[in-house]
Symmetry: C2
Subunit: 181 residues, 2 copies
């Protein structure tokens, strides 16, 4: 069922967990698959292409949960949480995303969905884009730093701090919106 291409990708994701991105090597991956290094180029045209596929798998694996239609803050929180979760779920996930993430049509679509939700709440087009971009930048910056440090602080504290910063941004966005009916 699983194509050889799939198996290579899965092995690469496993290897990432074991050795981290710096030691994720074409040759090591080949060894783990019991194959010569050059053989992998049948399945992916370059290491870069493999890393792109890994990133695609990571972002696809963190779908935003359903949120009530009118709840713009809930949408923002859901996007933020699923973005952070997707990165934290994999060793060096944030660095991998930051270095190799090229937003595909799905990412653009989910970005636009958030913008629409904010527009529906009364935000002007530009304000909605700025707000969405700001939350995104915060999520990436926070998670990057969080994962770079060697987990000095326990997870519940980090969750609390993440939420606190996000609430600050959401409060700022809320102040620019017309009051709810």
């Amino acid at each position: 069922m699983a194509s050889r291409r799939q198996e290579v990708l899965t092995a690469a994701l496993d290897l990432l967990e074991e050795v981290g991105i710096d030691d994720l090597t074409v040759r090591r991956l080949a060894q783990r698959l019991g194959v010569q290094p050059g053989a992998l180029y049948r399945h992916y045209p370059s290491k870069r292409a493999l890393l792109d596929a890994m990133v695609g798998h990571i972002v696809a694996g963190a779908p935003a949960p359903a949120v009530p239609a009118g709840d713009w803050a809930g949408h923002l929180r859901a996007m933020a949480a699923s973005g952070r979760e997707g990165m934290l779920a994999h060793r060096d996930g944030a660095r991998l995303l930051a270095t190799f993430y090229d937003p595909g049509p799905d990412a653009v679509a989910s970005f636009m969905r958030i913008v629409e939700v904010l527009r529906a709440a009364g935000a002007a087009e530009r304000a909605a884009v700025v707000a969405t971009d700001t939350v995104l930048a915060y999520v990436n910056g926070f998670t990057m730093e969080e994962q770079a440090r060697r987990a000095a602080t326990p997870r519940p504290e980090r969750d609390r701090d993440f939420q606190a910063g996000l609430d600050l941004i959401i409060a700022g966005i809320g102040a620019t919106l017309p009051p709810a009916p």
Copy 2:
């Protein structure tokens, strides 16, 4: 006057500008200095140490400008602007910082200064730390993405968007502070 160690560092920073971080190689650097690769290890114990020194030079080169004592928002803006500026001033600056930045005593001190300014404005200790961390995460996340895209949008627009997002966060922080006398 300039030590050899300094000259190596300067050459490395020049090379970064020319070829980018991915092609910044010990061997290329040696060639540029007219020297054998191994010779560089007299001056820096490892490539990693060299990169750390480059990061130190970049962060030191972006000092925050003076700001009126009571102006907490001005302090936040100054920190944000100088952080972004320092990264944008060098090719791959954001990626370099994100990957090799280990905050030294200077960075901690300037972080604490901002926290103090917020405390003086009436913020509780934790709220002040959260606010400072949030701005920092935003700056890093925004600049990272800004530099990753191949400068599709012109600089003035990017400045405007950066400011707009920052203002959102500052508005959120302001809402948690007691009103100014």
